[in-house]
Assembly symmetry: C2
Homo-oligomer: 290 residues x 2
DNA sequence: CATGATATCTGACTAAAGTCAGACATCATG
DNA sequence: CATGATGTCTGACTTTAGTCAGATATCATG
């Protein structure tokens, strides 16, 4: 009962029956699961028929019939795609949106009920984030986004909060050399976010300077996503972006209160150099030629 | 992306597709899922047909046919139950055991693969234990067992390890008044373990004495099962056992380094009393009349 | 040992999911 | 604008899961 594999398998059994219960509650709306899944996929913004089919892993014949049955119910309308009349685009009717909302309410109620029965919901949520990140690991996408977008701001806020917890003296972003957003946009730099499903779970900024090098800033991995070697993937992606921009020398600063970061740099070709700025927080400085 | 319900639902999505993948890998052995599930239930030691049917939630007609198909494949043999010839008992043939082992290998490989891709497997396992315990909460059974059984010894070892971590001076069971096992067996006392699926996640002992009261000892809840009010359920069950044994006065000792325990006692009718033994570890003493 | 309860099995059904071949319209390309 | 590729649809199927009403054998009980 102690070995890791049994523990994973116990988790699998627990989760299998919970998933089954959710499916059963979906059947309560008088529609087979297949049709309900298509309706929900459309409700969640997947409009292209081929995309839905791919997402749900359905045969084109089956997909077509499920769509037809949703149309017969008056929940969905399909039209030809504007750019390519072979492709079809599905969208919900007014009734369809109402029905989708009912499914959403079921899902939300189920989630709330699960949380409510537990007196330490925060620990439960952290565990769920951890597992969801691990399970969707190979589906994490690294996207280059604007450093002032909502996702970027979320990551940075989490990053600052963590520095505040880990630095003995706390962390005040206004005392740090906060990079100008335009230095982290092409063509001067870049900002990359790691997305797991809809949740940002990591980020890194590449900040262009006028001193013959670019700096790597704001490398952050969500606690729930640690252990997945995401830091390394983010660094690789930034280096690739730097090469594209013709940058040949990278620098970064960090703090010895973040040993896992320094460890990552040391094992990926960075070498320690003397202090190259007057930011009050960092005490370790690295350089890498690419 | 921050609200608890979205986080639970992200977890649900991640887990649904992982479960689907496992099901699909099971189909690879050329047998429908229903039959595979029955085969595995038998392999895991469920032999009584009614029990399997109940466990898998199958209709008796369907169950009968699935069994028949496994018999046709030469994987299963059924015989009449020794005590009741209406009931049937299923067991695996030699070929059946081989086939079951193949399913086990698939499950184990899937679990190992999942663990291997994560560099912090212990954190992942703790998260899985937490969630599995929360999901199977209403299926936790409280069983009265022998205080020297394997499950009891596992719980006690975990309990001592935790005391060692939480007491500043550590914990050495040989210095404590270790209760004699026979004092925690009927008719003098009782030992109750909380089982979640196959994993013991909590325990409590009721120790009979010759001083006109019985003592509650070794109340432990696994870290993964905290927040489920399991401590309270265990205490209620012991009190019920004590009443059955004609015990009317209960005592217990505890340590202020375990504040959640003292809190539980205070809110469930226990009142603090002066020290009533010379055990070196406890510094808080309680009594309850039942 | 008659009687009602229980456990399983069989036959006859339905619903849902999935498969496959071919039809059809549309697209990209030379 | 002919041609092959692509996306969707339809018809004709199969498999799997599940339901339900008896039939049959056995059990517990008085």
């Amino acid at each position: 009962m102690l070995d890791p594999v049994s523990r994973v398998r116990r988790f699998n059994r627990a989760v299998t029956s919970a998933v089954g219960a959710l499916d059963t509650s979906f059947l309560g709306r008088g529609r087979p699961l297949g049709a309900a899944r298509v309706l929900n996929a459309i409700g969640h913004g997947r409009s292209d028929v081929a995309e839905i089919r791919d997402y749900l892993g359905l045969d084109s014949g089956l997909m077509s019939r499920l769509l037809r049955s949703l149309e017969d119910e008056g929940l969905v309308e399909t039209t030809a795609h504007a750019d390519d009349a072979r492709r079809r685009v599905a969208k919900l009717t007014r009734t369809g949106r109402r029905e989708f909302a009912a499914y959403e309410a079921l899902s939300n109620a189920q989630a709330e009920g699960f949380l409510a029965q537990h007196s330490q919901a925060e620990a439960l949520l952290a565990a769920m984030d951890l597992i969801a990140s691990a399970l969707t690991r190979e589906r994490v996408s690294l996207d280059e986004i604007d450093p002032q977008s909502e996702q970027a701001r979320y990551c940075l806020a989490e990053y600052y909060a963590e520095l505040g917890r880990r630095f003995k003296q706390g962390f005040d972003v206004s005392l740090s050399r906060d990079p100008d957003a335009k230095d982290m946009r092409r063509p001067r730099g870049s900002f990359i976010v790691a997305m797991s499903d809809t949740l940002p779970i990591g980020c890194v900024g590449l900040k262009g300077t006028d001193h013959g090098y670019a700096e790597i800033k704001r490398l952050w991995v969500a606690p729930a996503a640690r252990g997945l070697r995401l830091g390394r993937r983010l660094m690789d992606a930034t280096e690739a972006a730097a090469r594209e921009l013709g940058i040949t020398l990278l620098r970064l600063d960090t703090n010895s209160a973040l040993p896992e970061a320094a460890q990552l740099y040391r094992t990926t070709g960075w070498r320690e150099i003397p202090r190259f700025n007057d930011d009050p927080y960092p005490d370790l400085f690295f350089e890498k030629r690419i």
